[in-house]
Amino acid sequence: MIGFWQKLGKATLARFSSIGRATALLIGALFNVPNIKKGTPLLIKQLYSVGFLSLIIIVVSGLFIGMVLALQGYTVLQGYGAEGSLGPLVALSLLRELGPVVTGLLFAGRAGSALTAEIGLMKATEQLSSLEMMAVDPLKRIIAPRFWAGMISMPLLALIFSAVGILGAHLVGVDWLGVDTGSFWSIMQAQVSFEKDILNGIVKTLVFAFVITWIALYRGYDCIPTSEGISEATTKTVVQSSLAVLGFDFVLTAVMFSS
């Protein structure tokens, strides 16, 4: 019985100290006074590896998801003679849900895992301790640029995803299945509102970016510095950030779109 209490207590303490370390990491990354001259090149380099290199997977998935949505939506809507509503169907599902969520999942798999592995290996090869030895704050030098790169890239990637998806739907719906192009766009424009749909989608992606990057950085920074530790940390990053994205998506949708 005592053993059980001890186990429970240990697990609880470990969980809380983990949350504490994660918060300390976040505060260290967020509230450091940024050095514009030195920080910008670091940020640009991270924007390249986190944002630009994720572009291909985002564009390709966006295109195909838009095309599939159009194909599926068309078969159902056609039964009611409402093919014209294909435009808003695709645009709303992309802008409100699929854009942020699928981008979040892909971003967690593509960029989040890379961040964790990179920082984990830095820790394993004692690069982080070396930085500290040289009186360079690793939070400022390593964590902060990666965090802001994630926060900037994710919304841009989600916007590109939605835009490409709508173009893909146009490709299938209008050019292939013969939905009228005028009603495709005009009904879409009549139904999609900038504040309600596009801005809310951007807010969603900002929340997801925050969660994913935070989890990825913390998992890497806090990993056990061995090969197994890094592999475990990478797995945890992908699993936890994907679940977090889906969970937060439900909460955000309930807050934003139910009224």
């Binding site: 841009l156 990637l157 916007l159 490409v164 009228d180 766009w185 005009s186 009904i187």
Partner: protein
């Protein structure tokens, strides 16, 4: 430190993202009507345009010949005036042309149906016969900016039901 190439690619990435935002914000699409891009405008005044929208198609017998360019309210009699942009490929509609607001399917979008009425041949061979029939000198062609007078408004379900009930009550 950071190579030029990386900076350029990041710039490309960011501008692509902003471009996507602009495209989504405006949702602009140049919905041309195909074939030749030249168009002319015909106007029509309706009692009620229902849910007709800008860029709704204009069809003759189901074939798209143009799009709605503008919808505005006439300031004098508060009736909606619809500007129709019609391809110059179909430029000889006579003044007997009628225009109706129709709906495609039960839930479908609304479009304008043009009924060309008496056709005026450019060659002018049958004109005499037709003109005799209508007792007119000559049927005029509709030109750019002309009004189509024979219009039929959109069917509004509530009005139909109201009318039906009223008639029932009268009997």
């Amino acid at each position: 430190m950071v190579s030029r190439k990386i900076e350029i690619l990041v710039g490309f990435f960011v501008s692509l993202g902003i471009l996507a935002l602009i495209m989504l914000a405006l949702n602009v699409a140049n919905a041309g009507i195909g074939a030749n891009g030249e168009t002319y405008i015909l106007k029509a005044k309706f009692e009620n345009i229902g849910s007709l929208k800008i860029r709704s198609p204009i069809k003759v017998g189901g074939v798209v010949v143009g799009r709605v360019a503008k919808i505005a309210l006439d300031k004098n009699d508060y009736l909606p005036v619809v500007d129709m942009e019609i391809s110059t490929d179909y430029s000889h509609f006579s003044e007997t042309t009628a225009v109706n607001i129709l709906t495609s399917g039960i839930l479908g979008e609304q479009y304008l149906g043009l009924n060309p009425g008496v056709l005026v041949n450019n060659a002018g061979t049958d004109d005499d016969e037709l003109n005799d029939l209508f007792g007119q000198e000559e049927l005029k062609l509709l030109a750019d900016g002309d009004f189509i007078t024979d219009t039929k408004s959109a069917l509004v379900l509530e009005e139909l039901i109201g009318q039906f009930l009223f008639n029932q009550g009268g009997e």
